[in-house]
């Protein structure tokens, strides 16, 4: 049977020696059909992986990287079609236009035949690490069942033997034995990801595809999973294709890198470093992300947004966004990969001509000193002892059992934002940072504590005070796809605060309107026109130019970045003093993030607006902010001026965050010990909340709760040993890295 399939490929072997590769992707193109539209997801991709090699594919969402990965594993949805090319696994065709790359449970006779051919490749040859935090595990079966089923149904193993093997596997990925008997919903994101990894290595495949293996995990867990993957690669000697939008992660995980854009490979780099990159897109992508290793003065935004791929692209797909574009970039051959150096291929006909060094110089470096020190400015927004306790449904059940189900999301937080200052609030998912931001935006009622504006506490029972507050403080939400009503044109959305606050926003222009009011319609119209002018101005301010083009569009016609700008424009239209931005970039494509970051910066510089920037990403917090608050389990654990806090961190959690963000293998374990990765909850509130994860914890840590105390001027830490550990983070690592 196998030989029969292999025979026709003998012809192919004349051109390439596919058997030298574990996997060879040859001129692969994939297309989706969605109703009547076709989406050209992957176009003419060619690359190969040898045994024990690790390749990383970087790209933004929608660039086709996931399609490529799933095509290799032959698990695309049924509406995907292979339009050209083949994929060879150890010289054997697994994907071709005839075989397709889709899976379907509803298969017919022909598909069943293909499935039979693939059965030795599936999981035994190629396995996949899916995003474990999503529902890639079946919710109604125990973890153990799902693992041992692989052995039972793929290896015809006896159930008892399968169970033993599964337990070994769980141990191999660092999970405790009892995980075997749990259901997926009982596991944390990191644990689920490990289960998924355990499944992927179960049948000793020759190739593992890791599709965004750490996305949606928190930073420290991400780091841990990355270490785990590296270790497994060493022990099992498998080839690895990892796919991510996270440039830092992927370069650490891989031997070689490839960059994908709009369905094509635009660059194949010879090593795992982006320093030698030659394609303009790769450059811009790398430079558009603030990182912690280098102190970047200004990230470079990429203008425009990625093409939609609904029609085939002729020439270079990056043409419209590229500063180096010339007319010949429109030629059909412009985007063909060319070898510029050994093992280095670039799909650009212009840039490789320039010396790569000249491009690299675009990376500005900060001068080191902390700029505009604003600590003497007046406090505009202040949280004083803010606490939020969620009580889970006080129903008959709780009364009957006398048990209270209280969760302290935010605990006695003091926070200040000064005039013209950008303050960052850093914390991972579940740290309570969003609850805090909601309370500060008066969207949630604190259990305790006060929100003060210009030094005046807000009385939450007085509508007038709240209305006045809402004019001064505007909130930008994380998800630009949901924070704008899809039913309204952009103009209505941006103008909404005006119509909502008609009475309170009686500024000069509307007082002028009052005189017209007696004349009936005239005044309404002039007010509408007045609104139009203001909308156009606001759109201009958020760099949606020309604004006339946007007013009549609907949200679904805009990219994520443009929507976020609309959302910011809506905030700006009432001339706020303070902007609360809750993870404004985390849902955006990588290439669009820098634009929003720079916009927030501009707002502060040009309009003197104070920004409270809430994020899980220390690097962007450093890029944007003057001061940083670090939050852990509802408490502020450290605060200080940005550079001071990052260079001389005085709390083990902050240090862990920083090290994880830089992500040098082994660095966290070395500094902070293995305990940092444990997820154990401290149940009693008596001691330090971080103590169970802290290597330095002494008796005092579990007995006495540390207060937020000053370690130096305007730098405080909630740690009993703040002085001892201060500065053991970034500076030392940097020195070490430069030395090596």
């Amino acid at each position: 049977m196998e030989e029969q399939i292999n025979k026709p490929e003998a012809i192919g072997k004349l051109e390439h020696n596919y058997e030298d590769y574990v996997l060879y992707v040859d001129d692969l193109s994939i297309e989706y059909t969605l109703g009547k539209t076709r989406i050209f997801a992957v176009s003419h991709v060619t690359f190969g992986i040898r045994t024990n090699e690790s390749i990383g594919i970087v790209g933004e969402s929608g660039c086709g990287k996931s399609t490529l990965a799933m095509a290799i594993a032959h698990i695309l949805p049924p509406n995907a079609r292979v339009t050209s090319g083949r994929v060879y696994f150890k010289g054997k065709v697994v994907v071709s236009p005839e075989m397709g790359a889709s899976y379907s449970i509803r298969y017919d006779r022909k598909e069943r035949k293909i499935e039979n051919q693939l059965s030795i490749v599936r999981w035994k040859g190629i396995s996949v690490i899916f995003q474990g935090a999503l529902d890639s595990l079946n919710p109604v079966h125990k973890v153990g069942t799902q693992l041992s089923d692989i052995f039972i149904y793929r290896e015809s193993m006896h159930p008892e033997e399968a169970e033993a093997r599964s337990r070994q596997l769980l141990a191999a990925v660092g999970l405790e034995d009892w995980v075997y008997d749990l259901y997926p919903h009982q596991l944390s994101g990191g644990m689920k990801q490990r289960v998924v990894i355990a499944m992927a290595i179960s049948l000793n495949p020759a190739l593992i595809i890791a599709d965004e293996p750490t996305t949606s995990l928190d930073v420290i867990t991400q780091y841990r999973i990355m270490e785990e993957l590296l270790r497994l690669r060493k022990t099992f000697g498998v080839a690895l294709v990892s796919i991510s939008h996270d440039i830092a992660l992927i370069s650490r995980l891989s031997d070689r890198l490839m960059v994908m854009y709009a369905g094509i490979l635009v660059e194949k780099l010879p090593s795992n470093s982006f320093d030698v990159a030659q394609h303009p897109y790769t450059h811009l992508l790398v430079n558009s992300i603030p990182n912690l290793e280098e102190d970047i003065a200004e990230v470079q935004p990429i203008r425009g947004s990625p093409p939609r791929l609904i029609s085939p692209i002729v020439g270079c797909p990056f043409f419209e966004r590229c500063d180096y574009a010339v007319m010949s970039c429109r030629d059909e051959s412009a985007a063909v990969l060319r070898q510029t150096q050994p093992f280095h291929e670039v799909a650009c006909s212009v840039l490789p001509i320039f010396a790569s060094a000249s491009v690299k110089a675009q990376k500005f470096r900060k001068r080191g000193a902390v700029e505009n020190n604003v600590s003497d400015q007046a406090i505009v927004l202040e949280a004083s002892g803010l606490t939020r306790i969620f009580e889970k449904r006080t129903g008959i059940r709780e009364i009957a059992t006398g048990e209270s189900n209280k969760i302290t999301a935010v605990s006695r937080v003091d926070l200040t934002v000064r005039s013209g200052e950008t303050v960052a609030l850093v914390g991972e998912t579940g740290s309570g940072k969003t609850t805090l931001s909601r309370m500060l935006g008066l969207l949630d009622v604190p259990t305790n504590g006060l929100v003060k504006i210009m030094g005046e506490p807000i009385n939450l029972k007085k509508r007038k005070e709240i209305a006045a507050f809402r004019k001064i403080v505007q909130t930008i939400f994380q998800d630009p796809f949901q924070s704008i009503n899809p039913r309204f044109p952009i103009a209505s959305t941006v103008a909404e605060p005006l119509s909502v606050n008609r009475r309170t926003t009686s500024d000069k222009s509307s007082s002028m309107n009052d005189r017209f009011q007696q004349h009936g319609f005239g005044s309404v119209l002039s007010q509408a026109e007045n609104h139009e002018v203001m909308v156009l101005k606001a759109l201009q301010e958020v760099e949606l130019t020309p604004p006339e083009d946007y007013v009549e569009k609907y949200p679904h016609q805009l990219s994520g970045g443009q929507r976020q700008r609309v959302s910011i424009a809506r905030g700006l239209i009432v001339d706020p003093k303070i902007l609360i931005a809750d993870e404004p970039i985390s849902m955006l494509d990588v290439s669009l993030r820098a634009g929003i970051l720079n916009l927030l910066r501009k707002l502060k510089q040009d309009f003197g607006i104070s920004v409270l920037y809430i994020t899980h990403d220390v690097a962007s917090a450093r890029y944007l902010s003057d001061r940083i608050y670090v939050m852990y389990k509802g408490e502020i654990v450290e605060t200080g001026e940005t550079e001071d806090l990052i260079r001389k961190s005085a709390h083990p959690y902050t240090i862990a965050l920083l090290l994880a963000s830089i992500g040098i293998e082994g660095s966290i374990s070395e500094k902070l010990g293995e305990r940092i990765f444990s997820q154990s909850e401290s149940t009693d509130n008596k001691g330090c909340l971080f103590a169970p994860r802290c290597q330095f914890a002494k008796d005092i840590c579990s007995a006495e709760k540390p207060e937020l105390l000053q370690v130096s001027q305007s730098h405080s830490s909630r740690c009993h040993f703040a002085q001892d550990i201060q500065g053991m983070g970034l500076t030392e690592i940097k020195a070490k890295k430069e030395a090596s």
């Binding site: 594993a73 698990i75 949805p77 899976y103 449970i105 509803r106 298969y107 693939l118 059965s119 599936r122 999981w123 035994k124 396995s127 996949v128 899916f130 995003q131 999503l134 529902d135 890639s136 595990l137 079946n138 919710p139 109604v140 079966h141 125990k142 089923d149 692989i150 149904y153 793929r154 259901y183 919903h185 998924v196 499944m199 129903g395 008959i396 059940r397 009957a400 059992t401």
Partner: protein
Amino acid sequence: MKGFTRFLIQRLIALVPTILGLIILTFFLSHVIPGNPALILGGQEVVENPTELHALEAELGLNKPLYIQFLIYLIQLAHFNLGFDYFQGQYIGHEIATRLPVSIELAIAAMVIGLPVAIYTGIFAALRTNKPADHATRVGTLLGISMPVYWIDLILIIVFYEYLHIAPAPFGQLSPFIKAPTPLTGFVILDSLIEGNLAALGSSLSHIILPAIGLSFAIIGTISRVTRSSLLDVINKDYMRTAFAIGFPRKILINKYALRNALLPALTVTAIQMGGLMGGVVLTETIFSWPGLGLYTYDSITNLDYGAIMAVVIVSGFLFVLVNLLADILYGVVDPRVKY
């Protein structure tokens, strides 16, 4: 299982307001009914004789204030006393107790016929989306939910009894020439089995087929549609992709990894159907002269026996609530994500 008992108690407590509301509503309905029950009951005699009317009113407790009447009603209910049926010459409670198993037997028979067909066709259609087989199933299920149950019943009788003469005459549970089994459980089929009365067993089985099929159409229509759409949902889930990438055999993929998740919504709908079956039972029993609760309802309607109607309303409300509770509990057993 400690959590489970707590969950059960909690759910039972939550039922209290619903059931109380049920009783209040029925009581209210029975008291706004036009006409004096005493007049209806006494007929011509009492109309001309006011003393007798008052005596009858006193006997029925109609001269007391409304809240006292309600209290009496409650106390009577607590003693399972649903009133006296003057038309049948029997306590309503007794009538219902003997007729309830008869109806339940029919409902179960309908489920036994309908459920496997529904689930099978649901899976069948889901695995062949937008192919002819799927379209055919869709038309079939659409018919199932769109045909009035009494119409189906009559057509079945016309075809299988009037013309083909395969089915027995549509009168009751048993052929009149066969000795009925002693009612132990009230379920005729079960009783004949216990007694070893094969003649009665055969007769009761052949009698139950047509009404059960008639009732099963709606079940098939609804549950098949739910099964199809939820299975389609599940098939597109990420964990199915994982299972597929692992390369499990198709049987395992569907039966172990897809179906269990897909049948969860079907379970809820089944419970609602089961409760709603009571309505269909009224029509079906009327047509087949099936001596259950439904026929009793019909007879009470024609006799304008309000007490009996309200009793049926209360009992069917109770049943409905109980079946839903049962479904909730089952749901928790099947879905590990439900926390007690």
